[in-house]
Symmetry: C2
Subunit: 348 residues, 2 copies
Amino acid sequence: MATINDIAKYAGISIATVSRALNKPELVNADTRERVMQAAKKLNYFTNDKARQFNLKTKKLSLGVIIPYITSFYFGELYSGISRVAHENNIDLLLYELKSDNMAREGLTEAFSFAQRHLVDGVILASSHMPSEYDDLIEQLQMPVVLLLDAHESAKLPAFKVDDIRASFDAVAYLVSRGHRRIGMISALQTQRQERGEQLRLRGYKQAVDFYKLPYSHSFVVYGDMRFDDGYSAMKQLLAERDETGLTAVFAASDEMAIGAMRCIHDAGLRVPDDISVIGYDNLSVSNITTPKLTTIEQPFGQIGAEGARHIVKLLTEGEQLPEKGNFYMPYKIIERESVAENSASDK
Amino acid sequence: MATINDIAKYAGISIATVSRALNKPELVNADTRERVMQAAKKLNYFTNDKARQFNLKTKKLSLGVIIPYITSFYFGELYSGISRVAHENNIDLLLYELKSDNMAREGLTEAFSFAQRHLVDGVILASSHMPSEYDDLIEQLQMPVVLLLDAHESAKLPAFKVDDIRASFDAVAYLVSRGHRRIGMISALQTQRQERGEQLRLRGYKQAVDFYKLPYSHSFVVYGDMRFDDGYSAMKQLLAERDETGLTAVFAASDEMAIGAMRCIHDAGLRVPDDISVIGYDNLSVSNITTPKLTTIEQPFGQIGAEGARHIVKLLTEGEQLPEKGNFYMPYKIIERESVAENSASDK
DNA sequence: CTGAAAGCGCTTACAG
DNA sequence: CTGAAAGCGCTTACAG
């Protein structure tokens, strides 16, 4: 590919002038400038950004976006939010897919190494729980890191997310407002030592149970790994204990599980929402095309991505004294659709 | 950040040796090697790939992945396929999201410029119809380009995709095998001058109509823009003309439209598949969680991504004399689920 | 307004 | 086994 040297030769001038003509046209005589442009076009020249990066002064900002679950339903929205802000600020995005979900030290190390090798200026880490034991890796990274969707164990990094506890409380409160009192929950697995955002949702549910003095026993809560199939089998359990619990509504910690639960209810010959109401958590784009359409708590993925990106950009460009840690709670809302009905059961 | 110079100073040796210790350890004395490693660790050194790229001999291969619709349901699968192959071959992936769907000249130019600026070695262009009028851009790119999911207008570039005509023919044939004869189609919009892959599906439908001598009038075909809502309103039209057509089954050119159609049928008080059977096209992951689960033609997105990547890698590394143009048809199959029933209508 | 030269971080042929 | 030096493509302070 043509270099600035080729242009210089072709136009019969020095490379210094070529560089100037290309980057600071106003510093160059109109004639020469024109000659350079002609040559550049003729030779099909493209500026070599990698080379340019060496001159720290002209280095273009870039951000590493590290994310597991690139196949998840929300990835697109999240990325689009980040991408919009990056574009506005003329920043390159380098995507890195975390190979394993488990956030093993090894995976994270590899991802960070990718970021460093590519001379990225900051890192956006999405949807990955950050235990304190990785603090040394973050330290070594030597650049700002922002978390999306999940928080740092001890809030040592800025995290943009929904307040899971409050949002879950509200989900249950909504069900209560529609006349339900016997409310089950399909929660995230409790395997991890730390409490992930997803697990906070159970806390919100329990607070609501206490607050509204709802009937409760351990048969009201069942666990799954956030996906469709998990929701299905979790619901199966819930249904099996229904004689005891008298369930009229269910809160699922993810839309996928909620959709799985709806399907299970359907297969059991019951109907949503007539027999059992279901509310989810996420507002995935899928949730608007199920039958019935899912009522759910919206996580504003696009906005979360955008705000996270904006924050790191500020950190990088304005040198502003922004808080470098703590959780930034983004607004959630209840999307009312068709999966929750007014409860008319006798024990109302 | 620490450079190889810092290490050299710290360890009291030349940068040449440091470089060797890092890249070709076997060429270096065990002692010195050890000293270098210690220093590297101590100084938290990361190799600067950008700099390394200059030495053409050590340049790491990288591929640009250009894709519109990063929010589409199939993006994740497609990208994962590409990513797997890239990873196996130690190749970097640089993702670029085409801002507008319309494949305007401007958007493509920007994407290609991104690819050139980042010194990418080849480009994978997904899901974007390639009219011949852009041949000059491809020409200027001066690197291999592979198309995914859609073809070049005059087959001047290798394209990895499903044979839309045959697959669609088979979709209709499947319906016929289940006793249906009055079969409608929800097709892609016919706005473009060129025939996109999506539009080829209508050709397949028509061939099947001819082959099986199925009843047909223009009321059997209706058009939509591939999304859920389009499927919904298209189905509405089809339902409106049902007195005339006597429809018992529908073939939709995309799963999203099929799911929209199912919803429309449901809202009209009819049932899938009991009253009307529906078959889709794509096999999105969503299609397995609808109620009823969608019977559909599978496009092997992961495999398409992987094969496309593999092809370009071969082009790049083995210098093999591969065909640089033409369509490579990937295997599709019919995924039988719940949305198609045996037809027992009187006019069978 | 323009050119010669140094430097960005790294690799490797060439000597030793 | 190791070092001095050239070169990858580009930018910019310094002279002129």
